[in-house]
Amino acid sequence: MKKYISLVFGLMFASQATLVLAAGGKGHVWGQMIPERAEAIRLGGDPVRGEEAFRGCRGCHKSDAAGLKDGTYPRLTGQHASVLVKQMTEIRAGIRHNPKMLPFVEDPAISVQEIADIAAYLSKLESTRENGKGAEDQSARGKKLFTDHKCYTCHGVNGEGNAEKAYPAVAAQHYEYLLREMKFIEKGTRGNAHPDMVKAIAKFSQEDREAVADYLSRLPDFRTVAATASK
C-alpha cells in the first residue's frame, strides 16, 4: 500500500514537473488566460487614450515606438494588439521575466485599461525609422530555414504571426532583438515562450539563428504586405 501511495505521488510530481518545464518556469502553462489579460481584453482599447498612456514607454521604445536599431528595445509598431496585451500582462504578472520593464508596466505607472489602450494605439501606428538588420544579407538561407522548420505554421508566411492566437508578428523586427529572444527562449529565461517554440529553437545552430533573424529583419512590415495584396 505504502509503495502504491509513493508511486501515485511520484507520478503526480513527474507530471507537474513536465508542465512546469514546458512552460519555462513559474508553473504557468502557455496560453493560460491570466486574470489581467482577460480584463484588458474585456475592457478593450482606445488608441487615442493609448497615445497618452504610451508616454511612460517612450523613454525606451521612443516616441515612434520603433525601439532601438541595436535591438536593446524592440520595435512595437505593427504588433498585434492581442500579442501586446499578452506580453504586457504577463510581464506584469512576472511570467515573462523582464525586471527592467516591470516597474514601467505596473500600477500605478500603467493600469490594465491603459495596457489595452496602448496595445490598440501601437497596433495601428506606423514606423518610419529603419529597423536593425544583420551585417550581411542572408535572407535566402534564412527563408529556407524558416520554411523547412515550418516556422510559418505559427508566425505566418510573411512573418505576420497570428492575432487570434497571440503569436507575435516577427517581420521587420530588429535583428539583434530577434537573436536575443531566441537565446532567452531556448534558455527558458524569457519565461512565457510556447513550449513548441522552446523545442523548435533548440534545433537551430547559432549560424542558422543569425540567418533566420536576418531574413525576418529584412521582411517588410506585414501590414504593408497585406495592404498591397488587397489592392
Binding site: 508616454r55 511612460g56 514607454c57 517612450r58 523613454g59 525606451c60 521612443k62 532601438l68 541595436d70 536593446t72 525586471p99 527592467k100 516591470l102 516597474p103 514601467f104 505596473e106 500600477d107 500605478p108 505607472a109
Partner: protein, 211 residues
C-alpha cells in the same frame, strides 16, 4: 549617502525660524483650518510664497500637478516619504488643507533656472532625451516630457533646483526615498552613476516649458 552641500542642514537652518514659531502655536484642529494666506507664510518660508524656492536644496512647487503635490503631502503625512524638514512641518498641517495648497501651488508659474556648468548640462541633455543604452537608463523625456513639464504621475522638472534633483536621484538610488510607483525611479536611479545624475540635474534646471 552623499548629499550635495549638506542640503538637509542648510534647509533646516533656512526653515528653522518658521519651524520654531510653529512649535509655539497650538496644533491644528480640523474645524480650525487657518486661511490660505497664513499657510503660504508657512510653506513660503522654504518654498517661496509663489512656490519657486530660491533655496537650492528645496524643491520648486510652482506648476507641479495638483494631484502630484497632494500625493506627496499625503506621503509625508503617512511617513512613506521621509524628510527631516517636512517631517516636522507636516504634523501641523491638516489633511483637509492638502487640496487647497496643492491647487494653489499647481497654478503658480514655474521660474527658469541657469546651468552653472554648460558642458555638464549638455551631457545631461543627451541622457535626458536619449537615455543611456548601455546601462538601460530610459530617456527621462519619455515620462517627464521633452520639455520636462511632467504630468499627474511624473513631476514637472523644468527649472527645478539642480541640487534638489541630485539629492532626490541619490535618495532613489540608495533606496532612501521609496514613494515612487513600485520602485520605478529607484530602478532607474540605480542604473545611473553620480556623474550622470549631476549632468541630468544640471540640464533639467535649464529646461523651459514648450508653449
Amino acid at each position: 549617502m552623499r548629499y550635495k552641500n549638506q542640503s538637509i542642514g542648510r534647509a533646516i537652518r533656512a526653515c528653522g525660524a518658521l519651524v520654531g514659531l510653529l512649535f509655539l502655536s497650538a496644533p491644528v484642529h480640523a474645524d480650525d483650518i487657518p486661511p490660505l494666506e497664513e499657510r503660504l507664510q508657512l510653506c513660503g518660508g522654504c518654498h517661496n510664497p509663489d512656490g519657486n524656492s530660491i533655496i537650492p536644496e528645496n524643491p520648486k512647487l510652482a506648476g507641479l500637478d495638483e494631484k502630484y503635490i497632494a500625493r506627496q503631502l499625503a506621503d509625508f503625512k503617512a511617513g512613506t516619504r521621509q524628510s527631516p524638514v517636512m517631517g516636522s512641518i507636516i504634523p501641523m498641517v491638516d489633511e483637509k488643507e492638502f487640496k487647497s495648497l496643492a491647487a494653489y501651488f499647481s497654478k503658480q508659474t514655474r521660474s527658469g533656472g541657469v546651468a552653472a556648468d554648460a558642458k555638464l548640462a549638455a551631457q545631461g541633455k543627451e541622457i535626458f532625451n536619449e537615455g543611456i543604452t548601455g546601462s538601460a537608463v530610459p530617456a527621462c523625456a519619455g515620462c517627464h516630457g521633452e520639455d520636462g513639464s511632467g504630468s499627474d504621475k511624473f513631476p514637472r522638472l523644468n527649472g527645478q533646483n539642480s541640487v534638489y534633483v541630485v539629492n532626490q536621484l541619490l535618495s532613489f538610488k540608495s533606496g532612501a526615498r521609496t514613494n515612487d510607483s513600485k520602485g520605478l525611479m529607484r530602478s532607474v536611479a540605480k542604473r545611473m552613476n553620480e556623474k550622470e545624475i549631476d549632468a541630468v540635474a544640471e540640464y533639467v534646471t535649464t529646461l523651459k516649458e514648450a508653449k
